[in-house]
């Protein structure tokens, strides 16, 4: 398993390299630059500023320098937040983003699996149909629509929850963004769970478990759940990726000081290093989380061998 993990990480290096390269040149293709203001700077000053940030060098040279820095863990300075390095900004945004994303995925998992199993065990009942209809809606509505809707209902009409802001991480500020982030995943996981539960309940080995005279609780918990969870575990890889990218949108809508908001601001300000830094961070997280998901899958399914 160690050599498997090592190999996966090794394979990730060229992937990361491609991501960095593509991102680097793509953001440079966008019109404008980090120091374009409404009123143009006097040419003398602009030249000095560009020199200070090495932006007067040829592009290939800048690229080589940047990659060289990243390899040593240096994401460079931010062009807009002059007193901070990109690493510091990401570090300051991380706690909020982590709380948001982690809570969302846990909620999606717990409730998705719960509702899905419930529906599967009462297949074709009213409750089953209700869960499936609601979850279909949840999947169909993207979170950039869901978020304003939630704000409108709970923030504006009912005035129960703050419309936006982080309020130093008070619970009441987190409810709407976490809900908006978690709902589509919760809905998808519920459907996935139901489908694979129904399938597993019809499996021959579950019939064997019943033939052995085991109590229904054991038949479900010991003989059905584990097999039924495998597709859900597989989905956790894409789910975390979607939560990470989704949080970029959600943090912006709810004005939450997380990594995602820095990403959007960085893109608007042409703060090249900040945008790249956030992208590299997200890509690394996605790769690492997918690796963890695959390792967990291997623990659950004895047929998977890592060697």
């Amino acid at each position: 398993m160690f050599s498997y993990t090592f190999r996966r990480l090794l394979v990730a290096i060229p992937t990361m390299f491609v991501i960095v390269t593509v991102a680097f040149f793509m953001i440079r293709m966008a019109p404008g630059g980090p120091f374009d203001l409404e009123r143009a700077l006097p040419p003398e000053i602009e030249k000095n500023v560009l020199r200070a940030y090495n932006l007067d060098q040829p592009l290939w040279k800048q690229y080589v320098d940047y990659v060289g820095g990243v390899v040593q863990g240096d994401f460079g300075p931010s062009y807009k937040y002059r007193d901070f390095t990109v690493a510091e900004l990401i570090g300051s945004g991380f706690p909020a983003s982590f709380q948001l994303g982690f809570t969302a995925i846990v909620i999606a998992l717990v409730f998705g699996v719960g509702f899905g199993s419930f529906a599967a065990l009462r297949q074709n009942s009213g409750l089953d149909h209700a869960v499936m209809a609601v979850s279909m809606t949840g999947i169909a509505i993207p979170n950039f629509v869901m978020a304003p809707l939630l704000t409108l209902v709970f923030g504006v009409y009912l005035s129960l929850l703050p419309v936006a802001g982080w309020g130093d991480g008070a619970l009441i500020n987190k409810i709407l963004p976490i809900t908006a982030l978690a709902l589509p995943q919760l809905a998808y996981i519920a459907r996935l769970t139901r489908g694979s539960m129904v399938e597993t309940l019809n499996a021959n080995f579950v019939r064997t478990a019943r033939a052995k005279g085991l109590r229904e609780r054991i038949v479900i918990v010991r003989h059905t759940l584990k097999g039924a969870m495998l597709p859900v575990v597989s989905y956790l890889g894409p789910a975390t990726a979607q939560i990470l990218t989704g949080s970029v949108v959600i943090e912006t809508i709810f004005d939450i000081p997380g990594i995602g908001r820095y990403f959007v601001q960085g893109a608007l300000n042409r703060d090249y290093t900040l945008v790249l830094g956030v992208m590299i961070t997200l890509a690394t997280l996605i790769i690492v989380l997918n690796l963890i998901v695959d390792l967990v899958y291997g623990l659950l399914d004895p047929k998977v061998r890592y060697d």
């Binding site: 021959n204 080995f205 019939r207 005279g213 097999g227 399914d301």
Partner: protein
């Protein structure tokens, strides 16, 4: 002899979007203590459903009516916890496909010990050592080591041995084996059948052997029940069924067993297989007359309108055909 299992006028219906399937129709049979009964018939004749209903394992869309008694106790409609005190303990079932009938996510040890812990109240350690002994008894080499493996680490034949060991754990009075060898290749089939007949020698369990292969029945059973379209069409001692089959369907089945021509002596091995022409009937509509009529070489006028009853001949030999009467 007392009956271990007594099925009386059993009807099994499945409701499907296309209509009701009459899988089993007015079927009666009984199995005595220690006896071995073969159930034969083509695919779809209802063999499995009869005994799945006995075990309380019918699919959700299926309903069983009539009576199925185990040692006199009615099983149909029995509450789940009472049924669980019988199945897996006093009667056990071995399924056709050992590849999918064992749980791929649990070790063999877990799948075996849970039976003994649930029903016999054994500690895990006791249950484990008894499981290992049972695996040795069904011929699994290095049982103490292999008990901790997962099903996919066993070959098909070995998995079926595990299934058999699992069924025997609580020393049941009745073992139902549903085509235990169909999914295995020929040499392994023979080994498993040898094992079953060997085990039959030293346990007192009654055995129901479901198969569409009359050859298997010949080696292993005392009695045969021949089913067609969810009904018993002929039943009797193995000897009587093989040497004096009366029902045209049984005759057809016997003719379809592959035989070797030219008995040894350099005789070319030409398996002569004569399948019965035609298809089994659609079970979605009630059949007025004899269900076998469309395929029967001896069919006559009244076969189309009147259903033949199962008529006793002699020695417990019985047959449901208008052309066959007591002699």
């Amino acid at each position: 002899m007392t009956a271990v299992l007594d099925i009386d006028d059993l009807n099994i219906r499945f409701s499907t979007p296309e209509g009701t399937v009459n899988a089993v129709n007015g079927l009666s049979l009984s199995v005595s203590a220690g006896e071995s009964v073969g159930i034969v018939g083509e695919s779809g004749s209802g063999k499995s459903q009869v005994f799945l209903s006995t075990m309380g394992l019918l699919a959700k869309n299926g309903r069983a009516k009539g009576s199925t008694r185990f040692h006199g106790e009615e099983l149909l409609g029995l509450k789940a916890d009472r049924l669980n005190a019988i199945r897996g303990v006093r009667m056990a079932m071995i399924f056709q496909d050992p590849m999918t009938s064992l749980n791929p996510y649990l070790r063999i040890s877990r799948q075996m010990t849970e039976v003994l812990m649930e029903h016999k109240g054994l500690s895990r350690a006791e249950a484990r050592s008894r499981s290992i002994r049972m695996l040795e008894r069904v011929g699994i080499p290095e049982a103490a080591k292999r008990v901790d493996m997962y099903p996919h680490e066993f070959s098909g034949g070995m998995r079926q041995r595990v299934m058999i060991a699992m069924a025997l754990l609580c020393e049941p009075d009745l073992i139902i084996a549903d085509e235990p060898t169909t999914a295995l290749d020929v040499t392994i089939q023979a080994q498993i059948l040898d094992l079953l007949s060997e085990l039959r020698g030293d346990t007192n369990s009654a055995v129901v052997l479901i198969t569409h292969d009359l050859g298997v029945v010949a080696g292993l059973c005392d009695r045969v029940v021949v089913m067609y379209a969810g009904r018993v069409v002929e039943t009797g001692l193995v000897r009587d069924i093989f040497y004096s089959p009366r029902h045209p369907y049984t005759v057809g089945l016997l003719e379809s067993i592959p035989r070797l021509e030219g008995d040894g002596e350099g005789g070319a091995e030409h398996p002569r297989l004569k399948a019965i022409d035609g298809q089994p009937p659609n079970l979605q509509s009630e059949i007025a007359g004899c269900a076998f009529a469309p395929r029967c070489p001896r069919v006559e006028e009244r076969c189309q309108q009147e259903r033949p009853d199962l008529i006793g001949l002699d020695n417990g030999h019985a047959c449901a055909c208008h052309k066959v009467g007591p002699t």
